[in-house]
């Protein structure tokens, strides 16, 4: 069965998510790498002298293979954890916008509903705050359910609207959500405006006992590893993301998923095929909001704080960028899109940093032309502030981010998924160019 990827002997086999052994192994290895990412895996470090003595590999390893170690110093753990959290929420929007074709700018609102609910269910009550202190297995799904209920509540309006009308009405939800958080009763749930409220740790408890069953909030020791709280949180989020992604994938490829796609593509025809439009749009809103709610709760958990104004328009817009860059409609596209949107600013930052660090050589000369130090000209000011038209590196990061979005979409309007299709088509035809 190896090496014959297109031969299936039963529908069951073909219907598996990763139908071939080679795919299963590749995905398995990838997931394993994801789990090992935050640790110092001995195999890859210089602790094994045999590896080091091999000429080329030895020099490559140096202080350990970077991939397995690059999360080691925890600096990268937070952005990657953020990727995982946003990916969960993005999966929801992908179901709504990518699969069912209902573009919503209100995703941040549903995340806010989830975050607030989770803070209420799982947080402690105190100084003008309501909280029930319930364990995670209640507050995490509870966040999703509450958001889903709100989603169902607004769907009678939303279902009748199309395209940009829907997008802008849902945009209104974001403002409404922040407004509600500011009201005298809203802040008892969502926390004070400006400061928010402290958000509970991801510790797993059976009920309200003091010592958690699984402690995620503090450093500790798991199996053979010393794990920091950051690493634990990463692993927890990784598991959650994988589970949610699998659920989404299954949903898309079965009856409900097809119904949603049918509505997206041709709504009247879908109805004539026996797919009740209203019902399925409501389902789409509910499931999407459920994902958003869970994502919103985990988003607050990652920040350690529930802050109403964090669930703002820009967050919503970020999801739209995720869908577009990843390519709407697919689970893998959503995951990759999230990775890119969260990490691009980081990469941009690295690039400008790298540029400004060089002297001489091609890069150095280029950097000299583009970057303005305290006394010379150039468009990018490396000092944090120069008057007039010169921008700080940080402003340039943002400009570059904006420009990247524009250029990327001009070059590849279908997003990374489009790139993938292109590459695949190319290799399918290879070595014949036509």
């Amino acid at each position: 069965m190896f090496g014959r990827p297109n031969l299936y002997t039963s529908y069951d086999q073909e219907a598996q998510i990763f139908p071939t052994w080679s795919k299963k192994i590749a995905v398995g290895l990838f997931v394993l790498t994801l789990f090992l990412l935050p640790f110092d895996v001995p195999l890859f470090t210089d602790e094994i002298p045999v590896l080091k003595s091999i000429p080329i590999i030895g020099s490559l390893i140096g202080e350990g293979i970077p991939l397995a170690r690059f999360l080691g110093d925890e600096t990268w753990l937070r952005p990657i954890s953020l990727v995982l959290v946003l990916a969960i929420a993005a999966l929801g929007l992908n179901l709504l916008a990518g699969v069912a074709g209902q573009v919503s700018l209100g995703h941040a609102f549903f995340m806010g509903v989830g975050g607030t609910t989770a803070a209420f269910l799982g947080g402690e009550s105190g100084d003008g705050l309501y909280g029930l202190g319930l364990p995670i297995w209640i507050w995490l799904p509870g966040a999703g359910v509450a958001a889903a209920l709100v989603g169902i509540l607004i769907s009678p309006v939303a279902v009748r609207l199309r395209g940009l009308y829907l997008a802008i009405v849902t945009l209104g939800l974001v403002f409404l959500g922040i407004h509600l958080g500011n009201t005298s009763w809203g802040r008892k749930f969502a926390g004070a405006p400006g400061l928010g409220r402290r958000f509970q740790e991801l510790d797993i408890r059976i009920w309200k006992e003091d010592v958690p069953l699984v402690n995620v909030g503090d450093d500790g020791h798991w199996l053979w590893f010393d794990v920091t709280d950051n690493q634990k949180r990463y692993l927890f989020l990784l598991v959650a993301t994988i589970v949610m992604a699998l659920l989404a994938k299954n949903l898309i490829r079965t009856r409900t998923g097809r119904a949603l796609q049918a509505i997206r593509d041709r709504d009247i025809a879908a109805e004539v095929m026996g797919v009740p439009e209203f019902k399925y749009k409501v389902i789409a809103f509910a499931i999407s909001s459920f994902y958003a709610g869970m994502g919103g709760a985990l988003f607050a958990a990652l920040s350690g704080q529930m802050l109403g104004t964090d669930y703002n328009l820009f967050l919503s817009v970020e999801f739209i960028a995720i869908l577009l860059i990843g390519g709407a409609g697919t689970v893998s596209g959503t995951l990759i899109g999230t990775f890119f949107v969260v990490m691009i600013p980081q990469f941009v930052e690295e690039i400008t940093k790298w540029l400004s660090g060089k002297e001489g050589g091609i890069v150095g000369t280029f950097a000299d032309g583009v970057l303005a130090g305290p006394d010379d000209f150039g468009v990018i000011a490396t000092g944090t502030q120069s008057p007039g038209w010169q921008l700080s590196v940080f402003d340039w990061n943002i400009v570059l981010f904006g420009v990247l979005i524009v250029v990327f979409l001009i070059v590849e309007p279908l997003g990374l998924y489009g790139v993938w299709i292109r590459v695949r088509n190319y290799w399918k035809q290879w070595p014949f160019s036509y």
């Binding site: 925890e74 937070r78 953020l82 100084d127 405006p193 400006g194 928010g196 920040s303 944090t384 940080f394």
Partner: protein, 455 residues
Amino acid sequence: GSDSDDGDTAADTAAEEPAAEEPAAEEEAMEEEAMEEEEAMEEEAMAEFASSPGIDADNMVIRVGLNTDLSGAFAPLTTKITDGHLAFWEEVNANGGIEGWTIEPIVLDNAYDVPTHLENYESFRSDGAEGVAMLSTSTGSPHTASIAGDAIDDNMAVIPLSWYSGWGDPGIGANVFEVQTNYCVEAMNAVTYLSETFGPKMAIAGFPGDYGEDGSLGAKYAAEQLGLEIVYDGQGQVVPGADQTPVITGIAESGADFTWLTTNPSTAAELIGGAAQAGYTGQWSGNSPTYNPALLATALGPVLDTSYVHSTYNELWGTIDTQGMNDLISVMQARRPDAPFDDVYIISWIEGLIAKQAIEQAIANGDLSRQGILDAFNQITADLQGLAPDQSWSGDPNTNVVRESYIYDVDLAIYTPGATVTTEDASNGYVKIQGPFVSPTAEAWTYEPCFKADF
């Protein structure tokens, strides 16, 4: 759990103090022995300090972090503050650093966004190239709050760029060392002055949240103490971006003698202009960030000239002749000749001076680790060289909290728009009325966070 942490810190300090004296004594002895053998001395000195996160003992470099907003909502302001901050360290380094140690400021942009702030903190706390010994700037209240817990775990000293009254409370941020007075006390002082000058009827309007409500609550506290009449209470009623008619109507109909604002300049302008048109004739003042002198160049200039009183928590550019102010002006003119003329550099200087003095103390103690710097903070009394009242953090918050603030009149006639720091006779149109002063209200107030949040 932060209370017990605080206890630990105190215990640590006590335990280490005798040990810290030893190297200092040794150093003195060496100096007496051979002044010309400087190199040898330095080598010895190096040996005393181990490298730790943010400290590169081999090259004698101390890294200091600025987690600041360079592209977000407050970028126009914080960019300048950060620039002043960098100028400060440039000057320090050019003059031999601190006891031979070079200070390397590491600036990261938080874009006024909590997740980004946390991400930046992750690099600051690491032992990599961006790891720092302390944070001399942490911009924003929710942002600073989000790292407050980690800062305790890491023994990281943090200077917030936020004047929320809660920072003095060890339960909210044991390692967050607030600077100058807070919004709440500022409001108490100013309201006292305003009521004495203009009359007893006061209107209040402010943003919701830690900034706006802190200021409003301070004003209300003063009103209660002074027996003022609050004719319009707009605490938390001003939401930026919305049409402000309800608040404007409220203020205009209140017949207040003066109105206390805790907003941003844009919204303040809307309220002042709107209320003036609706027939309000009273005076205006507000917490320091409410006002921006650039407003004088707009249609609102004349109104502000006659009816705005500016309150701050520090001296303003060139209004006094002290070492701090003179240094600031000469350094900025020399190192940033094209920088726009602005008073916010004083904040940079204050933060810089505090960080510098804490580091000096830590060096003197012989412990440059994060814990050492943290301890140093709890030992020093920062000398702000006349820029603002001196300040210390050890012991009871109620004795430490700064209660002085300043009052300025706004004068359109002397305002010079578009000036840079080198423009001669540049002025932002301020004439000092009073300060530093402590109102009896603020004097008598027992410290606790005015605006309470679960942090």
